[in-house]
């Protein structure tokens, strides 16, 4: 046997394109990709306060951009990205928390996810009500 080559020659496989090979990994890359949406929105807010700091003329120029239908459409896309982030964030949450024991039993993953989503809904409603009352 030794004449044919070294007995041990472990073969290391490449990781090239690993995330395309399994639907689970594709979903992972998509939800990691929501970071681009979050970054984009943070930049929009940063530009907004920068224009605001520059004075009324700069703000009004920026406001014209914000009210442009194309910009509103971009925000609709951002909204979809953020909603997907919310959904996936609370779906992973059960894996990240220490066990929570209530009434002698461990709180299930589904309950943790649902509680998180409910908290997001309630927090969003509160924010919207505050915004609406500030506007009036």
């Amino acid at each position: 046997m030794s004449a044919r080559g070294p007995a041990r020659r472990p073969f290391v496989r490449s990781m090239e394109g690993w995330w395309r090979k399994n639907p689970y990994f594709i979903e992972y890359m998509v939800h990691e990709g929501t970071a681009l949406f979050v970054a984009a929105y943070a930049l929009i807010l940063l530009i907004s306060i920068t224009c605001l700091a520059r004075g009324e003329a700069a703000w009004n120029q920026w406001l014209a951009v914000l009210t442009n239908p194309l910009c509103i459409f971009v925000h609709v896309l951002l909204l979809v990205g953020f909603l997907y982030h919310t959904w996936t964030w609370f779906n992973i949450m059960p894996r990240t928390l220490p066990p929570i024991i209530m009434n002698g039993a461990r709180v299930t993953a589904a309950t943790i996810t649902r509680t998180g989503l409910a908290a997001a809904l309630i927090a969003s409603l509160i924010i919207f009500i505050i915004a609406a009352s500030l506007a009036s």
Binding site: E16, A39, L46, L52
Partner: protein
């Protein structure tokens, strides 16, 4: 074995991730859709005097600062790891670009909010 400094970035990532998961979507809806289109909220909400008053109040100022800073730190941390995932192991370079831009954005936000007065 060297102790990892990741907890700093991981904590900022987690805080930003939680905040954006809780209220990110509604903020996008308010500032980007409902108010600018004048459909669900009045357009005057975004008038110079209204937005200025909001940003001059300590609570509004703090809110904007926390949102911008944490959203940035959350996203750059994810982007940094995704670069690694797709095979760009730029190491220190990628780290500097990612976390450096979050730091720059945070400082720029602080500067703008302080200038607003």
């Amino acid at each position: 074995m060297k102790r990892s400094n990741a907890p700093i970035f991981w904590a900022l990532f987690g805080a930003g991730g939680m905040l954006s998961a809780l209220i990110g979507a509604v903020l996008v809806f308010i500032t980007g859709i409902a108010a600018p289109s004048g459909t669900f909220l009045p357009r005057e909400m975004l008038s110079y005097s209204n937005v200025l008053a909001f940003s001059q109040h300590w609570a509004g100022k703090g809110f904007l600062f926390i949102i911008i800073a944490l959203f940035l730190w959350h996203s750059v941390h994810r982007i940094f790891h995704t670069l690694h995932d797709i095979g760009i192991h730029a190491g220190t370079g990628a780290k500097l670009i990612c976390y450096g831009s979050a730091l720059t954005g945070t400082l720029a936000a602080a500067y703008a909010l302080l200038r607003i007065g």
